[in-house]
């Protein structure tokens, strides 16, 4: 870490002490959104919020290794892409049943995470960032060279995943709730892992790897397991993205996408799972709203990012804390 001029561990990490008031609110809002959407351009709003949830899952996975584990991965989008391609490639061969494509997505991402993690986790700090980026780029180029599966052009997903032959995800509303369920389950699973014994070692490895090693833990093994978990959850996000967009493209894996995921994590507040959800929502909704105002929206968005980093340490949740603290509540 860059520590030339300040105390160590300058990263503002939220301690997830509160159980579920804010997260519960988030899930409640998401559950009620389709009701509100029915009063307007339903397909569009549902599509937008579905997208938010899909990326929220990927952001949570990234937050897990980044915020809790201290592993800044610049290649996280590769897992999303691999999950998406699992759906696309199986679909191109006529296999649409999610009992096949979902495990395939999870498994393939996990394998990729295991193999690349074995190499990446031997490095530290900025080398880790760069090598995860390298593997992300490799995945991107490989996907782009798969000529029978569209290559650089991408591949259309003819129909959404079916369950035992039933195309129950074709309906946008049903699909929305399916994604919401996936988000909820991922959230609970990741949360359980974070507070488990494994999670404590994993988090301890971020704070002080030497101490962990002295206590007898194989830090490398623990980090790799965490990395694989994050990869698998990223694969889930990809599975859902392929179904949401009904299209699969190497663009899902570019380093710019990985960068966007990092931004989502930061927006919400590093080190908080529900923060990642908020961050994903904030990023995508700002992008959508600003884009509607002006074509030059990036002129505003760029400096906004800088300002968030400089002043909103701890992201939106950190801001909320400050406001709450200022008004003396809780």
């Amino acid at each position: 870490m860059a520590q030339t001029l300040a105390a160590p561990n300058a990263l503002h990490v939220r301690r997830a002490n509160r159980v579920g008031v804010l997260p519960a609110m988030i899930f409640l809002v998401l559950a009620l959104a389709p009701a509100g959407a029915a009063f307007g351009p339903e397909s569009y709003v549902l599509g937008l919020f579905t997208r938010v949830m899909v990326f929220a899952i990927a952001a949570m996975a990234l937050d897990f290794i980044c915020g809790y584990g201290g592993l800044v991965s610049f290649g996280h989008a590769a897992f999303v892409g691999i999950g998406a391609y699992a759906v696309g490639i199986l679909g191109a061969h006529g296999i649409t049943d999610m009992l096949v494509s979902l495990p395939a997505a999870l498994l393939l991402s996990a394998i990729f995470a295991y193999m690349t993690g074995t190499v990446c986790l031997r490095t530290k700090s900025v080398y880790f960032i760069m090598i995860t980026l390298a593997f992300g780029q490799m995945a991107y180029f490989i996907a782009g060279s798969l000529a029978p599966y569209g290559g650089d052009d991408g591949l259309t997903v003819r129909m959404r995943s079916t369950l035992l032959g039933f195309p129950f995800l074709q309906n946008d509303r049903t699909f929305y709730y399916f994604v919401l369920l996936s988000l909820f389950v991922s959230y609970l699973v990741l949360r359980a892992i974070v507070y488990s014994r494994f999670g404590r070692v994993f988090r301890g490895a971020r704070e002080n790897p030497t101490r962990m090693a002295t206590l007898g833990f194989d830090v490398f093994r623990f980090q790799r397991v965490g990395y694989v978990i994050a990869g698998a959850v990223g694969g889930l996000s990809g599975f859902l993205l392929a179904n949401a967009a009904e299209f699969v493209s190497p663009a899902y894996m570019s380093w710019q996408r990985s960068g966007e995921l990092i931004i989502m994590v930061l927006f919400g507040g590093i080190g908080s799972l529900h923060g990642a959800i908020i961050g994903a929502a904030a990023y995508l909704l700002i992008e959508e709203l600003l884009g509607g105002i002006t074509e030059q929206w990036k002129l505003i968005f760029g400096p906004l990012l800088v300002l968030v980093v400089l002043f909103a340490r701890g992201g939106l949740l950190g801001l909320a804390d400050t406001i709450r603290g200022r008004f003396g509540r809780g």
């Binding site: 860059a2 001029l5 780029q137 060279s145 960068g259 931004i263 030059q296 968005f301």
Partner: protein
């Protein structure tokens, strides 16, 4: 495939390597010395090219345009340092990544707003428009030789500055332990500001020099950025020598890969798939190289500090 062709391709690879070094030099300085991940290096490179185009349109003289572009880039770099970067030195790498990412987004859009989205160009200065005969039927523009010379000159300059001057010594010391240097009465803030300004100028210099042979367009810094980072990481962060050697290595691997990958593959597979798998492998080659180097040497080829 003749030896002559092979030799020329090796030369091409070395030339590309020096080009990469010229681009990465500024980043090595900032990153290596201040441990600051400056993703904005790519857009500083782009800005140098655009400023050179703009000043050339005003003055009609390449040299004057170059000097003005460097001056403007320096001012811009110092401004950026003062407004944004100096608050980020003690922050986590993650936050540096995001803040500089924000600057990339902003500048790519700003450049498009000011100069338009269409690609622009800069002509080669009159005296250097000649070429030498590299092999029968192939000319090599003198300007490329000028770029190589400037790349080598920059390398030499940095080497001398960092190892043999007082400022260089302070910079190296400050990178190792800023607090002590500060306690010894040296203004670390000003030192870092100087280093950063210089790094920006180097990036802009590379952009301006390369503009006559490449397209000047929004986003031109993004590809270059990744290449520069790969160079530095393979070379070892903080090592000027490492950056130079890594740049040459990458230049060679990339060029020879592109030249011969397809031919090599044709030995083991039919020509049609070889033609498309070859370039795919060639694009990935530098990343594979980086992964290999980091696997065996997790801190690069010539790590400077134990971190």
């Amino acid at each position: 495939m003749s030896t002559g062709l092979f030799v020329v391709q090796v030369l091409n690879g070395l030339q590309f390597g020096v080009l990469l070094f010229l681009i990465a030099a500024g980043l090595t300085l900032v990153f290596g010395v201040m441990d600051f991940i400056n993703l904005a290096h790519g857009v500083q490179y782009m800005l140098g090219a655009y400023l050179a185009v703009a000043f050339y349109a005003l003055t009609g003289n390449f040299l004057i345009a170059l000097v003005l572009a460097l001056a403007a880039a320096l001012v811009f770099g110092l401004l950026l340092e003062f407004l944004v970067f100096r608050h980020l030195y003690d922050r986590d790498h993650l936050e540096q990544v995001i803040a500089t990412f924000g600057i990339i987004i902003f500048l790519n859009q700003a450049v498009k707003t000011v100069w338009g989205a269409a690609p622009l160009t800069l002509p080669i200065p009159e005296i250097f428009t000649g070429s030498i005969v590299l092999m029968p039927g192939l000319l090599y523009p003198v300007w490329r030789l000028v770029i190589i010379a400037s790349g080598l000159a920059v390398g030499l300059l940095l080497y001398v500055l960092v190892s043999h001057t007082r400022v260089g010594m302070l910079v190296r010391a400050g990178a190792t332990n800023a607090r002590i240097v500060s306690a010894l009465g040296v203004d670390i803030r000003r030192l870092f500001m100087i280093v950063f300004g210089f790094g920006t100028m180097l990036a802009a210099f590379a952009g301006a020099m390369i503009a006559p042979i490449l397209s000047v367009e929004p986003g031109m810094g993004d590809t270059v950025l990744i290449l520069a980072f790969v160079v530095i990481v393979i070379g070892g962060i903080g090592s000027m020598r490492g950056a130079f050697l890594a740049a040459l290595l990458i230049g060679l691997v990339d060029t020879l890969g592109r030249s011969f990958a397809t031919d090599i593959l044709r030995l083991v597979m039919p020509p049609s798939p070889a033609r498309t798998v070859g370039p795919a492998i060639a694009s990935m080659l530098i990343y594979v190289l980086m992964a290999l180097v980091l696997y065996f040497r997790p801190a690069g080829l010539f790590p400077v500090r134990g971190r």
